[in-house]
Structure formats: C-alpha cells, structure tokens
Symmetry: C2
Amino acid sequence: MLYAKCMSKLFLIPNSLVDDDISVIPQYIFDTIKHLRCFMVENDKNARRFLRRLSADFPLQECEFFNLNEHTDEIDAQNFFESVCCNDIGIISEAGCPCVADPGADIVFAAHEKGMEVVPLVGPSSILLAVMASGLGGQNFAFVGYLPKDKGERMRMIKFLEKRSSLEKQTQIFMETPYRNLSLFQEIISACNPNTLLCVAADLTSKDQYIKTQTIQAWKKFQPSIDKKPALFLIKS
Amino acid sequence: MLYAKCMSKLFLIPNSLVDDDISVIPQYIFDTIKHLRCFMVENDKNARRFLRRLSADFPLQECEFFNLNEHTDEIDAQNFFESVCCNDIGIISEAGCPCVADPGADIVFAAHEKGMEVVPLVGPSSILLAVMASGLGGQNFAFVGYLPKDKGERMRMIKFLEKRSSLEKQTQIFMETPYRNLSLFQEIISACNPNTLLCVAADLTSKDQYIKTQTIQAWKKFQPSIDKKPALFLIKS
C-alpha cells in the first residue's frame, strides 16, 4: 500500500523488566515522549502505570491507548495509521524493548511504508543483557525465540543449535515459558555435549538476578533455581 | 583453571553511542558503579571523560585503568584477575554495550570461572536499537558482525544470509567499517532479490539518526547518506 509522505514519528518505548522499577529507564525517554498522547500498548492499565511512574503529572486523561498484541498484523497496523494519521505515536512494551521478542514489528514496518520517522529509545533488553553477561561472545549471536513445543522436535532443535554454534562460532540464545524452564534446562543438559558452554540468565536487573556460565558437565552437578522465573538460555560449542 | 570462590563483582558498563551525550545512560548506573576504583577500558582518556560526565566529582585520581582490547584473551583475563583479586571491577565500553560487537567476553568468561558475580548494566546497543526500529521482526534475529573482506566471499555471504533469512524467518544483521558502508550497500543491492527487505540504520541516538526499511527494488532508486557513519544493515527475505 502506498501512503503520502507523513512527518509524524513513531517512538519505541522500552519498559523495565521488573514491575515498577523504572530506575533502568534513562531520563531522556521522559523528555522525548512527554508530548505524546497516543500510545499502542499490550495492557492499558500497565501502560498508564508506567507513564505515571515516569511522571506523576503525565496527563493520562488526555491520552488514547490502542491495543497491541501478537495478533496485531500489518493490516491492523495500516488501519491503525489510517485512523490516527500524522500524530506522533508511542509503542510501550510490557517489559523490555518493543519489537524484540515482543509484538510491534508489523506496526513499525507499516510506519516505514508510510514514511514515518521511527525513533527507538534506549532501555533494558533481557536478550542483550544476557549476551553481555554470558561471556560467550557478542561478535556473533542469534536469538531464536521459543523452541518447538513437541519434545522430540525440541531435542532436535537444541542439537541443531549446538552444532550451528560450533560450526559458525555463533552464540545461540533461546527462551521458554517460565514454568517450563526446568524441563528445558534438563533437556539441554541431556542433549548437549559435556564441553558445550551453557549460560542461564534469569530475573535480569532484579535483586534476584542470576547469571551463570559453565560447561554442561558442570551444570550436571546442580540445577539453578529458575522455576517460573523469566530466563534466557545461551549455548556456545 | 580453578579459582577459589570469590565474592567480588564484575560490572559491565555501557557508554553512549554519541560522544559525550550521556543522556541515554540511566541514572542507576552511576549509583551502581560509584564505589568502583578499578576499570578495564579500551581507551583510558575516554573512560575518564565518561566517568567525569557521570559525575564531575568522580575520584579519578583514586582509580586504576587496565587495558582491554580485541587481543585481550582468556589468558590475559586470568592474569588480570590474579593481580586484582576480590575487588569489584568495571568494564567500560568505548561506545554501546561491553562484549556486544566489542571486546570483553573473555574477561567475563574468566569472571564466571572465578565465581565472580557478573552484573550487566542497561544502556544503548546499536544492534538492539536497529532490530527494534527496522520493523523486520525481533522474534528471531542474528547479528553476524563484519562480513568477509574479499569481495567474492562477501557477495557469497550476503546471498547466504538472504537465503537463511528466507528459510528460517531470521532477520540477519551485519556491519562494516564506516568508510566501506557505501560499497557494502551497493553489494547488498546487487546480490539480493528485489523483494528482499533491507533496513539501513546509521548514527543511532544522534540528531542525524537515519533508519529506513524498504525493498531492495526501492533502494535501487537512491543511496542513503551513510558514508563514514557508524551503520548497521539488516536483511529479511
């Protein structure tokens, strides 16, 4: 679809990884977004709370909130822009950075098609923090999201990622629904070679932050306390 | 090598992407690192300037700065820790996040081996900002660093990444030495299919920030002004 060139901006607004702790959000974000009155958000109530944390005076009664979720596709995005053309808009993530393991990319793509300026803002990303802190190397890394649900396929995928990591010297990063963390951990331990390195990174930026890198062999001796906690797994072979 | 368990911490300290503009650095970083007196840095003078920006009173005369570069390997890291055991240490990046397309991973790995706590801090990463702002999807992406220098190999690599992106729905991200940006841009244009999407993201977080996503076909009609500017290239097929 072709749009007329539009001078409005789409701001991508990160949120903290830990409820209500906005100390990790740089001050310039508030200065940059304080004029916005139109937001795309996953959860209206949480977004309002976030804005109120940024500034107790944020004029929430003047703001409009539009629903953004994993089903918001390119067509929804185009319809959305038709209805609010040429106002600056913000996408607020529920946790971490919009569009990274989170919805929003279709909206951003539609904004590019429309000729809007896209302005990504700096904030926490559990993926990036995990790459930094793993010691496994951030010269070459891949985030592959969730592994397949079927156990057989998941085991094959883990072995595939281990092999790719070895062939391409590429750190492989993936995640799981928190209540399945421990079963994924066990599967990694049983699928990978003893010398492969595994980093487990959980509860990032919280006071319970847990980050540990060691060989599969060493991990066999104890299980990390990551049940029901947001976690990332990184392997390097 | 085995170390006695050590209670000291290694802090990974991001720096701004634009010289001296620390507005993108969250305030909690200063609060977290103000007790540090021992730093690993790529450039002593720049690190001092960064700390002075964080706080004009930072007691630089009490601080020690150790050299960190791409040749700092695991052996150097272990020697380093032998000599400064059990003090908290910070790694300050020249720009962006330590260990992500930047040196530091060997030091972090050695810290894990030593049983140190590794604390990654939140700050700007051009890679992550580019993924967010590309609209190409951050559910599955790979950063592969620099492409091969040889022109033939580089063209083959671009085609390989395009194919992988198509087969695995994985956004592929890479970079080039800034003065070679335009020749890489031309190579991408000539190597990729017309419908492949290319995002060019340059000068991120600066006032000249440039981020544009469109098809190769559309890019054929004009060349972005990215000569000698720090830039990332993202493709999705």
